[in-house]
Homo-oligomer: 127 residues x 2
Amino acid sequence: MTSKWPDLVNFNTAGLVSVIVQQHDSGEVLMLAWMNLDAVRETLATGRLCYFSRGRKTLWRKGEQSGQVQHLIELRIDCDGDALLALVDQTGVACHTGRRSCFFTSMTKDGSAQVGQALIDPGKLYG
Amino acid sequence: MTSKWPDLVNFNTAGLVSVIVQQHDSGEVLMLAWMNLDAVRETLATGRLCYFSRGRKTLWRKGEQSGQVQHLIELRIDCDGDALLALVDQTGVACHTGRRSCFFTSMTKDGSAQVGQALIDPGKLYG
């Protein structure tokens, strides 16, 4: 059970795999992002989370603008190889809104409600 | 901040949104799956997790064959509306291999290692 990791990942037709990002000690799910082969390779080599931005179509080194970097604790892959789980140590906040997690809105049958508070002014994150 | 939930979800061009599934009390990430509009609606209406199977192209009521159902505690959506986080109470195991979580393989620069043990014989799950 020591396959090389590139043999395990089933990238989709766009060459991407989805990545769940979880704070390693608290268990809080911070965000969902995407990686291509280069992003996985860079993340494992440097220990800093690097994604592929589908909007900008380029590698996105988390925190390069905002300083809110993520250090890799462990990278796991699921049973059919089409999703990764990154256990990280998040500096500051993961969300561009200044909240710790991107998942701050709760949905119900009849509406929705915000469950997370901003910890940092987003204007300060991106100057 | 009480938008109706269908206005919040940005389904992709295939009409799907990804769903991270997390055990509500332990914080363990169990699996990643997909929902279409009908699956979100059924999940919120019944309180039992219902997905869209991309392989079978049909609604997939988790546990309908295996008995390993998931009860919904809370459904959250992320800041840009293209990912959901389902906090659930998982009966038994989430993974078809008999493991609690689908994320039982750890990737490193040089290889990989299994970190989760099967709790149930998969042959017993699917008869």
